[in-house]
């Protein structure tokens, strides 16, 4: 008899060692998330994947599935609060979508769409954060960073490098680069690194590729993030990249 949990009344099986997120994704159930990617050690920081487990709030991406758990995910309360957490991410940075190359391919934006977020709800911070355009192929706009650490993890766990780290405390957190100069150009980062493509927002961009796919024809212009996320989960790592980014990677490879 295999072990099961219940998500919103639906009974789903899981294997020992799986998190609630793992089990949900395997069963085709989408739980919103930004800091999580199945191929990396879960981080649990964005809190969008918060679900109610036996009445208590837990992060689905880090909380182990245990036999008989009663998990609630798509409740009105959780959806409302996930929207507010997304709004928090928008107001703490400078997320001006019309001026961002990533628009349409941005997971932060797509989660906003998914949650029917129409405004920012909270006062905007308009932080003054740095842009590093020193690297020949990659640029970083810190004002769009949401501290998910996916680039940190990808660089360490996939690229075998250690280009990024999150530094600072509280609202003053920021991304730092592993070079004596502190500049991206002096790090080991290459445009083909997975770390350069994993950013769920427009904080890390590959230069000269931004408008190869016109606005209106991008991933989330036509597909909801739940479909995209479920389609890419549990498959080969390079398929986990959103399609347009996979194309970008190809392009950069050919270009070299």
């Amino acid at each position: 008899m295999s072990k099961t949990i219940t998500i919103d009344g639906k009974i789903i099986p899981f294997e020992e060692g799986q998190t609630i997120m793992d089990a949900a994704m395997a069963a085709g159930i989408y739980i919103p998330h930004l800091c999580h990617q199945p191929e990396f050690t879960p981080h649990g920081s964005c809190k969008l994947c918060t679900v109610k487990v036996n009445g208590r709030n837990c992060s689905a991406c880090t909380f182990p599935a245990m036999d008989g758990q009663d998990v609630l995910s798509e409740t009105e309360e959780l959806i409302d609060d996930r929207r507010k957490i997304t709004q928090m991410l928008f107001v703490e940075g400078n997320h001006l979508c019309p001026g961002c190359e990533k628009t349409g391919n941005c997971q932060l934006q797509a989660v906003g769409y998914h949650l029917n977020m129409l405004d920012n709800h909270f006062p905007l911070f308009y932080p003054d954060r740095e842009i590093d355009a020193s690297h020949p192929d990659v640029m970083i706009d810190q004002s769009r960073c949401i501290f998910c650490t996916l680039c940190v993890r990808a660089s360490q766990q996939k690229d075998g490098k250690n280009v990024f780290a999150i530094s600072g405390r509280g609202i003053n957190k920021h991304l730092i680069f592993n070079a004596e100069s502190g500049l991206l150009k002096d790090t080991a980062l290459e445009a083909t690194d997975q770390a350069a493509h994993i950013c769920p927002t427009g904080a890390i961009l590959i230069k000269r590729t931004g408008y190869q796919v016109p606005i209106g024809e991008r991933i989330y212009d036509h597909k909801q993030i739940d479909q995209v996320s479920l389609a890419s989960s549990g498959s080969r790592p390079d398929e986990a990249l959103p399609p347009s980014l996979a194309v970008e990677t190809e392009h950069v490879k050919h270009g070299e």
């Binding site: 928008f90 400078n94 997320h95 001006l96 979508c97 019309p98 001026g99 961002c100 628009t103 349409g104 934006q109 906003g112 769409y113 998914h114 029917n116 977020m117 129409l118 405004d119 920012n120 006062p123 905007l124 308009y126 932080p127 003054d128 954060r129 606005i215 212009d221 909801q224």
Partner: protein, 179 residues
């Protein structure tokens, strides 16, 4: 036709792109004017708001005049709507928000490249700039938000027809865009 719904529109720190997009409802405009009458708007050249049912505001608040216009709309419109990215979060004009205003003015009027006869414009007819560009909901109470840069013609159509037909306005997934 005394019972027509009165609509006013304006653009604050915006580019009129939202207005252009509104006009993209094309021939549906004919249906709309059956039930709607325009008050103050770039479409009518009426200079001041009278009592209206709906006010559509494009653009954020970047100067003192924007504040006055916004307040006039709030005082006269039963329902006030933030239309487009700039009204909702300041949009691209808000890119100046992390640069001190003094630096912006110096660059533009005193020591920037190509500046002739450097001086800060000063005339009582000219509105003064605020330190930062603000979304309109930080200055007056806003009832609805229509995201997009611009919101598509269908967004305007869906929103207005919902209101006119007495439904709580809502935007389905395909109409929600921030770009």
């Amino acid at each position: 036709m005394a019972n027509k719904i009165r609509v006013a529109t304006t653009s604050l720190a915006g580019c009129f792109g939202c207005h252009m997009s509104f006009l993209d409802i094309d021939e549906r405009m004919l249906q709309l004017v059956e039930v709607v009458e325009f008050d103050r708007s770039p479409l009518t050249d009426i200079e001041h708001c009278t009592n209206c049912d709906i006010g559509l505001i494009e653009g954020g608040v970047c100067n003192s005049e924007n504040v006055h216009v916004l307040r006039e709309f709030r005082n006269n419109c039963k329902i006030l709507v933030a239309v487009g990215a700039c009204a909702i979060n300041g949009g691209l004009p808000a890119l100046r928000n992390h640069i001190p205003l003094e630096e912006c003015l110096n660059e533009a009027y005193l020591d920037g490249i190509g500046v002739e006869n450097p001086q800060i414009p000063s005339d009582i007819e000219l509105p003064l700039l605020l330190n930062q560009v603000h979304p309109i909901h930080e200055v007056v109470k806003i009832d609805y938000f229509l995201p997009g840069c611009p919101p598509s013609a269908d967004v305007f159509w869906k929103f207005l027809t919902d209101l006119i037909e007495g439904r709580e306005p809502s935007l389905p997934y395909e109409l929600v865009h921030y770009d």
